[in-house]
Symmetry: C2
Subunit: 257 residues, 2 copies
């Protein structure tokens, strides 16, 4: 009896182990791992050993705990879209960050969410921001996400909305679909999105989408700053640079306006 069409027990389990290990910065003992995954110790041992033999995990000789090696990092960096986007975008993003003297983010759409691919920060601008390369966030609560969402076909946007577990991160978070539809119209009308403390209190950002050769919004760029430094006037001042940057990157991906 197979649980669902196209499911292989041992693989389901080993992937769960991989993901569990990835969230344990200090590593996990075999029994921790078995407890966390609800697998028998014996089974866990066998599976984590397979990961070890393939170089994905190792057993720290001093602590005796299992943790991930850089193998997943290596493979993750090879994902083609990372390459394509980063090589096209990096110089532009560094330039934008230097020009604005604020943190600049590049994200790519991945399924129902977005993943941060790059973060350019001006020197010593040490504002604590929860974003970092590799982080996955939903679309509805971030400037970058909303800018992408607004350019998708309505049914696709709705599907993404419905698949998301809507959380109220701050008082400003958009939590109903009608509100989001109005927001998406505003974004399309002005050509950029604003995240006004919708995900993190105290952080405001402006964002715009990058389009590929087919015109699809595959990625986005944002400029983020504490509200104190990001008032209406500042946003208007930074906007042209942001829009120029996403245009230049879009063109490098083959987009024709």
């Amino acid at each position: 009896m197979r649980s669902s069409p196209g499911s292989v027990q041992s693989i389901d389990r080993v992937l769960e182990i991989l993901e569990t290990l990835s969230t344990a910065p200090l590593g996990m003992s075999l029994s921790d791992l078995a407890a966390a995954t609800n697998l028998h110790v014996s089974t866990t041992h066998r599976l984590v050993n397979v990961l070890t033999e393939h170089g994905y995990a190792l057993k720290d000789s001093s602590s005796g705990k299992y943790r991930l090696t850089l193998r997943t990092f290596e493979i993750g960096s090879r994902v083609s879209s990372v390459w394509n986007l980063l090589s096209a975008a990096k110089p532009h993003l560094d330039e934008l960050a230097a020009e604005c003297q604020e943190a600049v983010h590049l994200v790519e759409r991945d399924g129902m969410g977005i993943v941060y691919l790059y973060k350019a920060e001006p020197f010593q601008q040490l504002v604590r921001m929860s974003s970092h390369v590799g982080l996955r966030n939903p679309m509805y609560c971030t400037g970058v996400g909303k800018s992408i969402l607004s350019l998708l076909p309505q049914d696709e946007a709705e599907e993404i909305w419905n698949n998301e577990e809507i959380q109220t991160f701050t008082p400003n978070t958009i939590t109903t679909f009608p509100d989001m539809i109005r927001e998406m119209e505003r974004i399309r009308a002005r050509g950029y999105a604003i995240d006004d403390e919708e995900h993190e209190v105290g952080v405001r950002c402006i964002a715009a989408a990058i389009r590929n050769w087919a015109g699809n919004p595959v990625a986005a760029v944002s400029i983020s700053a504490p509200v104190s430094r990001m008032d209406e006037a500042t946003m208007q001042r930074l906007l042209p640079s942001l829009l120029r940057t996403v245009d230049e990157i879009s063109r490098m991906l083959g987009h024709r306006a």
Copy 2:
């Protein structure tokens, strides 16, 4: 009959599929994938579907080819050592790159090799260099690798050497162990390593190791440049900054001199 102790066929196979897909920037059709992995189409289909259902791969609707999503990128970025090192090192590396106006690399040791974690480049300094974040290289042919190797216990260094398939990348590549032992002594004596076109013709670099709380050389930093810009005088000029940088990072990891 199990092929080797601690081996699970379906997992071995799915990992091979994952790795194969990671090297195919344009994606692969099911039959391509089956051919590349020597698996039956039917089996390949089942396994790649498991990856798809877990969000690691997707089937591009226009081309019909399978490729990896950003899931591995996401998980790879969570690997704890990446976090620890990068957060400690990033500002120092950016500063070093700005100061030297040359490309700066941060690598971490992973098993028998090194993996590039970060690359800081001064503006518009577009020299083609094969290195990029996520790349894995052997130790014997890179400055960063040699600087780490030189601080390992002799038996460990020898084990790494023996496990490596030694390739002659350039006329300067060190290809015999006695030569490497002498080189390691030189590196220990002066406190830094030089890669004098040993991996790539035309690229010279200076490198030094980062030590953790236990004194182990877990990572390294290098400054790379075309030979034309990296003569003896330049190296002597850049060295203090490099050594100061690795010292600062080592201290942040708890190393006491």
